[in-house]
């Protein structure tokens, strides 16, 4: 533990962050589905439906394609494990989490990318046509969104003189004027586009499609069953909530616990819950309003995000 907080607070914050991500992820997905259904004029499944699905899947048979190797079986575990590490070290509830020194923005982004890469490897490992197609599409999009994300992050770390997320969050809280600078706003938009692309949502990918030919993310997990599928679904929802929580921390940090104490932590939990829920509702409402982009138009969207990120860096250097 390298946190300056007393040990009990650090342990409590770590447990809350990890539990919040594990339980909150599926609930966030359920909430977004509910919003979507309501906007379409339907009642929709209950918000905790993803948890019911996970409980059922966890007890079903796991199947493995004939030609798949051990890679196929480790993918779900790696996906969940990398996200759990992010949930533990990132400053989701407090500006001084356990192992906060390791919560470097670049490290977190590459931890996230490990998840994407192993998913693609698992899809290739199945040896099916759709697995390979999904993997190649996902990697194409990943290769374009990764530079945009990295450059957007660079713009955030320039004024804070650090790429450590807790430091960036703490310094932005100390200088609220930073949050309205051009570089912040530009990288905010770039960040949002990348979140949509990385979490496989409209207009880049349609998570509820049934047509294999239009699938990107879904095509990669077609062969998983039972507990493996449950882990993958859990991992995906955890990635979504972690991305949204990081976004909330970097761009609207108010409410995060800056000092130890029950009161601060409770405010932190409520604040991050409200921010993530609001972002999820906004994302779901946006999804109802847009159509999926043609695959060949996606690079244009991501190139736009990259340009915004570059502009953010330039303005961070020019307008300190």
């Amino acid at each position: 533990m390298t946190s300056a907080w007393p040990a009990p607070s650090v342990v409590a914050v770590s447990v809350l962050q990890v539990l919040g991500v594990v339980v909150g992820g599926p609930l966030l997905v359920g909430l977004m589905r509910k919003v979507r259904c309501r906007l379409e004029g339907r009642v929709g499944p209950p918000v905790h439906q993803p948890l019911l699905d996970l409980r059922k899947l966890a007890r079903r048979e796991r199947t493995r394609p004939d030609r798949a190797s051990w890679i196929f079986s480790v993918v779900p575990v790696v996906l969940v494990a990398t996200t759990l590490v992010i949930a533990l070290v990132a400053p989701l509830l407090s500006t001084d989490p356990a192992f906060g020194w390791s919560a470097d923005l670049f490290a977190l982004i590459y931890l996230m990318l490990i998840g994407s890469v192993v998913l693609a490897l698992g899809a290739l490992d199945t040896g099916t046509a759709f697995g390979g197609m999904g993997a190649s599409r996902a990697m194409t999009i990943g290769a374009l969104s990764e530079p945009a994300l990295l450059v957007a992050v660079l713009a955030l770390s320039i004024p804070a003189h650090s790429s450590n997320v807790p430091t960036i969050v703490a310094r932005s809280l100390a200088h609220p004027a930073w949050l309205a600078t051009p570089q912040r706003l530009l990288s905010l938009v770039a960040f949002l586009i990348v979140i949509v692309a990385e979490s496989g949502r409209l207009p880049v990918d349609n998570p509820s499609t049934h047509l294999e030919l239009t699938m990107i993310h879904e095509a990669m997990i077609l062969e998983y069953a039972g507990a493996d599928l449950a882990l993958i679904k859990l991992g995906e929802s955890m990635r979504l909530i972690v991305l949204l929580a990081l976004f909330a921390d970097l761009f609207v940090p108010w409410g995060i616990a800056t000092a130890p104490g029950v009161g601060h932590v409770v405010v932190g939990v409520v604040a991050i819950g409200a921010k993530v829920a609001a972002l999820g509702v906004a994302l779901a409402a946006f999804e109802v309003a847009v159509a999926k982009l043609r695959l060949f138009r996606v690079p244009e969207l991501l190139a736009g995000a990259f340009v915004l990120a570059v502009l953010a860096v330039i303005s961070a250097l020019v307008v300190p």
Partner: protein, 136 residues
């Protein structure tokens, strides 16, 4: 049925297979997810991959060309699995009984756990039968 309901407890995913139907049953299945019937509120969804589901939703008589794909889809579903036969054709070949391209009804090819009669069955009939499986 009881056993499946206890197993699923509010979450049921099915893969729809058209084994040779006239598409009348498909229209009713599609309208199950319209705002009027909204089957998703009971935790019942149709999914794309047989690996992700608890069973099959089969419509139509089993034609010679579809018998093998249907059997292979059935084998791709992880255990324990259920088969729901929708429509008179799936139960006893209906109006297509004796036609040259028809191999038989669904129960000639695989064990059927739940049969929903009707030509085509009403969406509300299908939903109430499926709710029994889902335990909702």
């Amino acid at each position: 049925m009881q056993e499946a309901a206890g197993r699923n407890r509010g979450s049921l995913q099915l893969r729809h297979v058209d084994a040779g139907s006239c598409n009348g049953c498909e229209l009713e299945i599609t309208s199950m997810s319209s705002p009027v019937y909204d089957v998703e509120r009971f935790g019942i969804r149709l999914e794309a991959s047989p690996r992700h589901v608890d069973g099959l939703l089969v419509t139509g008589p089993v034609t010679r060309n579809m018998a093998d794909p249907l059997r292979r889809t059935f084998e791709a579903v992880p255990q324990p699995r259920v088969v729901v036969a929708v429509g008179d054709c799936a139960l006893d070949c209906g109006v297509f009984a004796g036609a040259y391209g028809v191999q038989g009804s669904v129960c000639d090819v695989m064990p059927v756990d739940l049969a929903i009669p009707g030509c085509p069955p009403h969406p509300a009939t299908i939903i109430s039968a499926l709710r029994g499986l889902a335990g909702t």
